[in-house]
Symmetry: D2
Subunit: 467 residues, 4 copies
């Protein structure tokens, strides 16, 4: 686990890498090469773990740069392929296969060998988390690092292929270890204590996780579901409601599944889509358990709404624009805040929103409800990044084929909910017969399916903003 366990003094990275990253066998002998001893992989893992963050970054840079593809070999084969274009297909296929093989980075073998030793897969998942951090922190903009990341991602995609995932229902009878992890991983609506978590795995609730044979005891993605009679419009009624803790479930009272939290636990599995598959599997599971189950919807947070709004207000102030609210609305705000309906009111509003204090005044709440709702609708529906929804939660559910179904006022009244998204939450609803076509429409044509309520709020915003 630490340097002192390595046999002898710390070797230079160079020396270690040269030794453990064996050269790619030739195309001819590729199936005749015995794998290197496991100790190679273990040594690399121990060495890597012993490094400081900065050193890790150096090591990965060196690995990806010096032990990647043999560019000269590739270009020779590319030339050869061009020369054989007039030859028979058998020849072309063979050169293509050689070319494909030559495009294998040398380090890919190391990754493969590591995956085979105990806890090797977990090591690689964590190593990819390091890579992603290096890339996003701009610590390195090396194309080689990106290549290494791409190679590792495609390997992880194979290993975490759906056929190899196991769906587990988590209950109060599950191992304590799992329940503790699930509590820790819950980022959306934090678990405060063990009664909280007992509630979330108790009657009228379900908690499902994917686990993987190569990472036993480690939930990869966790989905919390509330079983209800209606599509919930308030999160506190789900996570703070303990009345039913000892009741028996009545299957006839359940026709709706509300996905109120979904968390990925492994940063290193970014881009390996597990969440949508989990939702699909859970839908099937619930359908077979509850005969009357007919409605599926999320109750989702809107992270980023408040800060987006603050940015917008700040920009409008700079530009002296006031059109986010109607004149009438500004007057009311000014009235309550004892200001004038100009930049003073705007400043007051910015402060109220950043503190969440507006919720203490019934009049302000009354004034702001239509304002915040239409702004929020626009934020979710209209704000884009490369053509897709800017809000990551929206993007996730829309990719899965859900419909942007209902914005809910007063939906998360916790301090956190008020500060993050003015207490608004949104339901993304899954109409099972439409998800496939919705998903394709969104991913190919960037079309968002939404209900009248959402579209109505959006058009109010547009009218106001003269968009």
């Amino acid at each position: 686990r630490c340097r002192c366990t390595s046999p002898g003094p710390v070797r230079s990275m160079e020396e270690i890498l040269t030794r453990v990253v064996v050269p790619l066998p030739t195309y001819e002998t590729r199936e005749k090469s015995p794998p290197p001893p496991e100790s190679n992989s273990v040594e690399f893992m121990n060495f890597y773990r012993s490094l400081e963050k900065e050193e890790k970054s150096q090591l990965l840079a060196k690995l990806s740069h010096d032990f990647g593809v043999d560019h000269k070999g590739v270009s020779e084969l590319a030339g050869k392929l061009l020369d054989t274009q007039q030859r028979d297909l058998a020849t072309i296929l063979q050169v293509e296969d050689r070319l494909r093989y030559s495009l294998t980075p040398r380090y890919k073998q190391l990754l493969n060998h590591i995956s085979r030793v105990e806890s090797g897969v977990k090591f690689l998942v964590d190593l990819r988390a390091d890579l992603l951090e290096i890339i996003s922190s701009k610590a390195s903009d090396s194309p080689h690092i990106r290549d290494l990341n791409g190679t590792l991602k495609s390997l992880l995609s194979e290993w975490f292929s759906v056929g190899l995932l196991r769906l587990e229902r988590i209950t109060w009878q599950s191992p304590c270890e799992i329940l503790q992890k699930i509590s820790q991983y819950e980022a959306v609506h934090p678990v405060r204590n063990w009664t909280d978590i007992k509630r979330r795995v108790g009657p009228y609730r379900r908690c499902y996780a994917f686990t993987h044979a190569a990472m036993p005891g480690e939930p990869l993605v966790v989905l919390h579901v509330a079983l209800t009679e209606d599509i919930s419009d308030n999160i506190q009624s789900i996570v703070r409601e303990f009345a039913t803790l000892d009741s028996e479930e009545d299957v006839n009272k359940v026709n709706t599944a509300v996905f109120y939290s979904i968390s990925s636990t492994q940063a290193g599995l970014q881009g390996v889509e597990l969440g949508n598959v989990l939702i699909k599997r859970v839908v099937r599971e619930l359908q077979s358990e509850f005969p009357h189950m007919s409605q599926f919807s999320s109750l989702s947070p809107i992270p980023g709404f408040s800060s987006w709004l603050q940015g917008l207000l700040s920009q409008h102030r700079k530009e002296g624009r006031m059109e986010l609210l109607t004149d009438c609305e500004w007057r009311k705000v000014a009235d309550v805040t004892n200001t004038t309906p100009d930049t003073n009111a705007l400043d007051a509003l910015r402060k109220l929103i950043s503190t969440g204090d507006w919720t203490r005044s019934e009049r302000l709440v009354h004034v702001l409800e239509p304002v915040l709702m239409r702004l929020c609708a626009w934020y979710l529906y209209g704000e884009k990044r490369r053509g897709y929804a800017l809000n990551p939660v929206a993007n996730f559910h829309l990719q899965n084929g859900a419909t942007m179904w209902r914005l809910n006022w007063h939906a998360d009244t916790s301090p956190r909910g008020v500060v993050n998204s003015c207490g608004i939450m949104v339901n993304y609803r899954y109409f099972l017969q439409d998800t496939l076509s919705n998903s394709a429409a969104y991913m190919h044509n960037k079309v968002i399916t939404a209900t009248e309520q959402v579209l109505g709020l959006v058009s109010q915003f547009q009218k106001n903003s003269k968009l």
Copy 2:
């Protein structure tokens, strides 16, 4: 499961394939393409299963030919890569990555999607078994079929990577389903009845199997071990010995593990090396269970020895050569068989060996022991295919790094054993500290490590044969 379940009349292959094998997304949109519905994969699986053998072959030919790599796209990118050789590395890396992506056959996606539906992995394993049969039966020598086989093999190699395999010890408490399968799969020393199999999982025996999360209840490779005080030289003492059936194991009496049978059960996993990994894992398991465990060896059959010998005798007869036996040996054979020490004796010998009747005469047994032993040693050590041992069992253990340790006379006295290999068996011994270097020496340099006994027999053969 059959045609009648497909919704509507049977569609032509063409139509089905066009629909279920969706085009490869462009490089840019490769991560923005939702997977096709599962029903696609299920439809293909049902369609394939409904076909006759001949039709399957046609379908696979069409799939591999019409839905493979886009050769034009590949050659364009190969050209582009050559053009960028003078550019910066970032550009080169990017073109290489596009080239790599363009080398993906379109059908690879289908295989990936199939692996995700229930029992999809098993379907692909069986489909590969079909492919291998087509290739080996020369039903098709299409290079596309070989390419499809290669693509599928590399996918299976990822999914059956060691980290995803589970070692299970099979006992009399294991599910009946598993034990029945293990009995059926045992090809080396057939299981006659349920007492037989009870013995093979009882005291002083071990039976281990690898299973895989995606194919539950299906042992992939099975290893039978006898726990002894000496390296066994006779198989009947292992599989026909019931004295210890109810005894308690005494760990202090065990210092040797004899691997007396190893069977791969899935034809479709050919080339995905599981057997050697299983042996390594079992060695570790046994070391931790038995404090005095120090010797590891196989007791292996020699399939093909008798037919090789018959071929040799037949050829010698044609060429009128008699040097396989010494003059003195021929005289003794002639004597016992009431023939003359010439081709008459040779004919008599061929007949005796093909029937196994030589074992009924004590004198013949006495005469033939040195003859057959040295011929067998040569067969194992000297006969090659592409430089590696011709005998597949020998090749397997030598690849794993075992030493050709001892030929055993009278080792398998069952009719099957006498007819197949004149009752001779061989121990491949695993000296743990040497297996890695042995394996490398064999695989790279085709060097076989053998003991004095084996080498002595080989040199007797060579002296005789003037080799």
Copy 3:
């Protein structure tokens, strides 16, 4: 396990018993006595197992005679109880409690201690089987042996109380060990091979067993059920029908459960009623699994019918009576058998029944069907032992509250079935709302509930026999 393991020479029974069967503590110190060391119990168990049958019988006689109740103490307390009859209730209760304690045989403690060591409960179950054999074989008519048997039975009844039994469904995934035992224990319709047993745990079949925490891996009573659309009238259609071996069960096709075999496996648990409880539990299990399940019935053998019939015929022959068949029937029998319609025909009939050869002649079958059916109905309904049905299977189901529902001709056409009960089988049907009252009527008033069909056959018999 054998004599040679005992530390030193075999001690005399006397000496062993004196040492291991410690005296009963006094009433006052009964809760202050530490249990003797476990080695005491283990020594007794090993000693007992090392004895020959004859010696076991002697040991049990000695144990029950010399280590039973202290009669003198009991009679003193009985006297004291009579003296206190005029005293207050508290005093009476106390003397009663002392009297109760004094009626505890000294050996009861030994039995209790044995039950606590590993496999001790199984030892006691087997010891009771020995006791029952001694009693039934009249090897001993000692009242002490009967007392020991009674004490042990009441202990076993406590330990095998229903709350401690575990219902297990046996499937093809169950441990091989269990399935082998279940095959061996199946006495009613013997299991011929492993395909047979696979069938009996496969689709449209159920196999349930009770197990007990103190005897792991040992099924105590086994119930085989066929799931059908009608109440079966033929056993071969159940145990020799393999068409559905790989089919999927369709729950909507199942409305009937036919109990076609129930076996107790532990001779030593005689009188500890497990079978009826198992049936009740299975009925509940099936009701919750199959929504349309509405009919429950056995399909039962009639052991003893043929030998009872032979006895009857033999007696009639001696007494020269011919009224079991009508004149017309005798004439037909004589006709077919080439005899005269008198004792010759009777002799021919006896022979035909003992060999089962009557089934080979269609005419005889035709003649004998009404005869055998009414005789069989009488055997089941009219023949009694101490007022209860003589046939043990009938007695079992009637005690459970079943109705004697239907006699089935040609129901067991196996040689065994023909020879034992002329191929006739009977359904005891469980009408759930009536079983409690039926059971009480039968057990208290010896009333058998039967259908018109059965009663009609019985009255035909009575008319004929002038009963």
Copy 4:
């Protein structure tokens, strides 16, 4: 579960009891009586649960009084037994058996039937807890209630016989439900949070529990063990030490097992000895797990020591006696407390001990150590109840055959520990070869085995107190 579920208005106790407590069958028909329907038992259970405490007490009084033994029948049989004393043994045995049967209280059958319905055993365990409370609270001094208690206890003893208990090791992988219960039940050293309990099931710790098939998920008695290199003399080093939380256990570092907490969880199982059996089983378990395990000891609290000491001081004050401390000791106490070495010092001492404030003065601690140690030794060794150790923890371990091994000063420095037992704890050590004889000596002859240290302190106390 509540009155409203009973079909119709609440029936009077009388009516309910008469219906559900069926009369005892006659001796002759005792095996021919079908059990009453389960609904009887369920009705009684629901009715009982619906009652208030006071009503429960009334119901139990009525049940035990009106549905007990038939005293007239008993006395008749007692008379008959006296009459048969001159007859043969067979006759005597038979009358004894009838007498024994007639001593069965009618309610015993009800208890038996309840034990057979789901969760019936748990109901009876809880009912016995109610009985014990009634008896100890003197709410009733009815001899019938005591009889009912005795009958129920002996039934529970049968059902909770050791052969039916399952030893479970509790780990961080155990179900959360179990770990939560174990945390709640831990009365000796309360579990503060989930890190606490994780520690107590982590490395160098063991937690074992007995469970029972009839009460799944319910630990009956729980034993906490610390694995150490020395016999611990301080509890905080065990329950507040987190350094090793993530370490790997080194089996070679462990030679001692310290039982630092044992809790019975079911009040209703009082007198059914589970604790000592659990200790024995755990000793065997640990011996087989740790090759060097050679020392077994408790580290036990001394509940009641402080209040016993207060009582003693209070009495001495009343009687004006000062000999508990030597003159010199009193002077020192007076000195530190600014009092005079007479009743003033005594009063000061009483106050200091009741508040635990003496621990704040180093000088006082120094003065009081020898005083409190010798008083405590006497409390444990010399104070008796009916001849056995007054302290219940001491009595438990002495019954098991442990030796009173070492008193530890400063052993439990928690406020609770200081207030309860002046911070002193004691090791009861288990010398395995002596426990059997120690146990017998203690239980029969009330002899306490103790070490020199303990005996030395006792004799100091005696010298001082002129005992």
